[in-house]
Symmetry: C2
Subunit: 335 residues, 2 copies
């Protein structure tokens, strides 16, 4: 039996737990040509849009709830990187047919994310075509207080939340098949299918942070964005990079420990925050992270950019201060 | 030679004529995790998202500039239906490969629309996958003055801008092939490939309008949305429906004049405005339309909804007041 787009919207998307609660004063959602958003005086709206395409950014056979979680976290993570409070999101869902079991699971994944990040659905589009999901997330910041990539200053310290590389390794695992210990497999799947956006950490820490970015394209590539936009260089210490335990164990077992580091610095799919802060904020930031049981690592230093090293803004140093040569940097869609 | 996503963005999208002009105070565009939008005191932000999928909403072989125009107009038309001023848009472009000739034409189409509607690009995403275009348009309205579907009152008149049915007939023409006179063919192509959003008419007329919707899904289907949301019925006069000349001539030549009316009332792809206004606003609205050489037709009347006709809220009457039975109503994606 076929189901119309209007019925899909009302049955799976325009319902309690997904759309704004009754009496919500900031947003008016689904049901007119446009949604309407109120931005309180003294605030600015920030917005970000990400598309996930089947078999490019996720596997078509993934649990639909997990696809929804990943699509939401990719966007909420960008709000976190601006130090924003989440406000609402829009969704354009393109799918080959109206599969109600798929929609049931997908909308349940959305519902979890709406609750976790207090970010309801206020509009979007539903079309027939090859499976893909576009989400635009909207957040609020105090006027002129958004965390920009351009705010890092020489002398600032460099931090990263969480542990790196597990989600990216899960992708290789699923693509290529790998014989793994049960625990390693679970850790990788958890990282990939249940990513966390660091919205709450950024909210509590934003006054103490000078520049931030989310590292969905890989730490090194995204560190280079901060360096470039701030006109500084970054010196990272290899020994301080928080390589995920499962990554160390799996890639170490493959015979080369440096592979774990290389992977953690270049793999995508980690929705962690890379940020800079002045040294006198370190203990306060560590305390905030500890309070929410979030691992926070100081991984390096912001230094002045001299004429000669404009092309090599991010260096990763070993314990004796020598530069480590790393592989491919970051995820680039068309190269 | 392959080109990276960063190079595509800087070469085709992040450039003068597409992104905000230097010194623009309302929006900060491409180059950070999120774009930032200022909403002036006393205003509200309205937003709308539409996805166009290749070979569902356009033909993959269409001129890329025309695809860009149609994607923009689909969204700008929703801003017009709210009586909003255009502010800025975001774009998620998914394409199978980076074809520079395609990108050159597509970005030229965007540039035309940015200029026509004063609506610059402030962010988005670029991914590899089956060709599709998602745009979210953002506009500003005076607080609590957006034109809603729910504002029609019994006694109001019903109006529609422009002429109907030509774009929808162009789609049939392209799909099925048809032997047409040169002029008819040109008129249909013009309607389909160069649609106009009625942003300026809505801007000038918004104080005089009680409810509005854009009729991209077909006049009858969209009229039903106004009727339902306003808890009224609409009575349309068949003889007043502005069927496009080419549609009358082509479908008339096929031997059945009523086909033209039926097609004009149910075809999609017209980005005209259907709206209601009290009778004392008619002459002022006609004058605004005449001032911009836009056809404006009074096509019916808003009447009270009585218990019995809740399921049949929009009726189309012939000259003797009898109801005309029409075919399939509106475009529904999954039914």
């Amino acid at each position: 039996m076929s189901i119309s787009e209007f019925d899909i919207i009302s049955k799976y998307f325009n319902q309690a737990g997904i759309t704004p609660e009754a009496g919500s004063t900031l947003v008016y959602g689904i049901g007119d040509d446009c949604a309407i958003v109120d931005v309180p005086e003294g605030k600015q709206l920030v917005l970000t849009m990400d598309t996930l395409v089947a078999d490019v950014h996720f596997f078509s056979g993934d649990e639909p709830a997990a696809i929804a979680r990943r699509a939401m976290v990719a966007n909420i993570s960008d709000l976190a990187a601006m130090g924003a409070d989440a406000l609402a999101f829009t969704l354009s869902l393109t799918m080959p047919k109206a599969d109600e079991a798929w929609l049931e699971s997908f909308s349940e994944g959305l519902r979890q994310m709406v609750k976790t990040y207090s970010c309801p659905l206020i509009g979007g589009d539903l079309t027939q075509g090859p499976l893909s999901i576009t989400i635009q997330a909207h957040g609020l910041v105090e006027k002129n207080r958004a965390l920009m990539r351009s705010g890092a200053r020489p002398g600032d310290l460099v931090f990263v939340t969480g542990e790196l590389g597990a989600a990216g390794l899960a992708v290789s695992l699923i693509k290529n098949g790998m014989s793994l210990q049960q625990q390693d497999r679970q850790d990788l799947y958890q990282a990939y299918y249940n990513p966390q956006a660091r919205l709450e950490f950024a909210r509590q820490g934003r006054e103490k942070i000078s520049a931030a970015i989310d590292i969905s394209d890989g730490l090194l590539a995204d560190a280079a964005h901060i360096a470039l936009m701030s006109s500084v260089n970054l010196e990272l210490q290899a020994s301080r990079i928080p390589v995920a335990g499962a990554v160390k164990s799996i890639l170490g077992n493959l015979g080369d420990r440096s592979k774990g580091l290389n992977h953690a610095l270049t793999a995508g799919d980690d929705y962690e925050l890379l940020f800079t802060a002045s040294a006198d904020q370190e203990s306060a930031l560590m305390e905030i992270a500890a309070g929410m049981k979030l691992k926070l690592s100081r991984i390096g230093l912001v230094v002045e950019s001299k004429g000669a090293d404009r092309m090599n803004r991010v260096r990763c140093l070993d314990k004796s201060g020598d530069e480590i040569t790393l592989g491919k940097v970051g995820y680039r869609h068309f190269s």
